[in-house]
């Protein structure tokens, strides 16, 4: 079990160590694509792209399915979690922004108070 995990772990990091493969993951994050699409997109030969996809597949980062003559690649993440993760990403970003905006609002409120006092004086 430990051995298996370590093997998977190494395979995953090896898969992620290559810029083209990280690009492929990013691309598949947006939409599923065939190996031909990916080869075109990254200006590679079909054979070269097949190798990259093979490495990603081995690491469990990508799954592929052959329908007819086309092999479609998609991210090897569980689909169900994707929607929740998408919402959470947006929420984290906006929460971080709005927590900063709180500080700006507090500062402007203090300034208004001081200015108001000055006017009355």
């Amino acid at each position: 079990m430990v051995q298996y995990s370590r093997t998977r772990f190494d395979a995953s990091f090896a898969a992620l160590s290559d810029a083209t493969r990280r690009g492929v993951l990013e691309q598949l994050g947006r939409a599923d694509a065939s190996i031909t699409d990916l080869a075109d997109k990254f200006h590679m030969t079909l054979t070269g792209m097949k190798k990259h996809v093979g490495v990603l597949e081995q690491a469990g980062l990508v799954t592929t399915q052959k329908v007819g003559r086309v092999r479609t690649c998609r991210l090897g993440l569980r689909r169900l979690d994707e929607e929740a993760a998408w919402i959470e990403r947006h929420r984290q970003l906006w929460a971080a922004r709005f927590d900063e905006l709180d500080k700006v609002v507090e500062e402007l409120k203090r300034k208004e108070k001081v200015d108001g006092r000055k006017k009355r004086e």
């Binding site: 994050g29 947006h90 984290q92 709005f98 409120k109």
Partner: protein
């Protein structure tokens, strides 16, 4: 661990909610402890907007931020260091109440953002609504330029979870 968490003072932050109201619509809501005119100001004056729109955690900065806040006026945000830009046009401007703008960096058919400011008892309920041209466009809508990185980390997190590895310690 839990006991320590309970004894910590509760931060006074209002919750941010995000919902996908339909296939093409994203809605973000948040209450601010201040009047609408102040919150509106923070959205429309570049020197204030730039202070919160790129939180430190994003580790990014803007080279410039221009906002001509009037109907038909343009805005443009340029990032460091490569000058990548967000830009668009204000479609509606109702002071302290409502802003509508286009997002044109992705070409035609980009999303339209509506922000409303609703004041009640000195607090402001802010609702940000994004309408995208299609379900696919919203699916692909990132959380801005930091998205690729966040996504990569999310994938790595998930990968680490899958592998049952601990990310704690050093």
């Amino acid at each position: 661990m839990d006991a320590r968490r309970e004894s910590e003072p509760t931060p006074m932050k209002n919750p941010t909610t995000v919902a996908r109201r339909s296939e093409r619509e994203l809605v973000v809501t948040r209450t601010f402890n201040g009047p609408a005119r102040i919150v509106f100001e923070a959205w429309t004056r570049p020197e204030l907007f730039t202070r919160w729109w790129l939180p430190k955690s994003m580790d990014m900065s803007l080279r410039s931020c221009e906002m001509d806040v009037r109907v038909g006026g343009k805005y443009r945000l340029e990032f460091e260091p490569d000058g990548f830009a967000f830009f668009g046009t204000y479609l509606e401007v109702i002071p302290n109440s409502r802003l509508v703008w286009t997002n044109e960096e992705g070409g035609e058919g980009g999303p339209v953002t509506t922000v409303t400011f609703e004041e009640k008892d000195g607090k402001t309920l802010l609702v940000m609504h994004e309408l995208h041209s299609s379900k696919e466009a919203l699916d692909a809508a990132g959380t801005g330029a930091a998205d690729a990185m966040v996504e990569t980390f999310a994938q790595l997190d998930e990968l680490l979870l899958t592998l049952g590895a601990s990310v704690g310690g050093s």
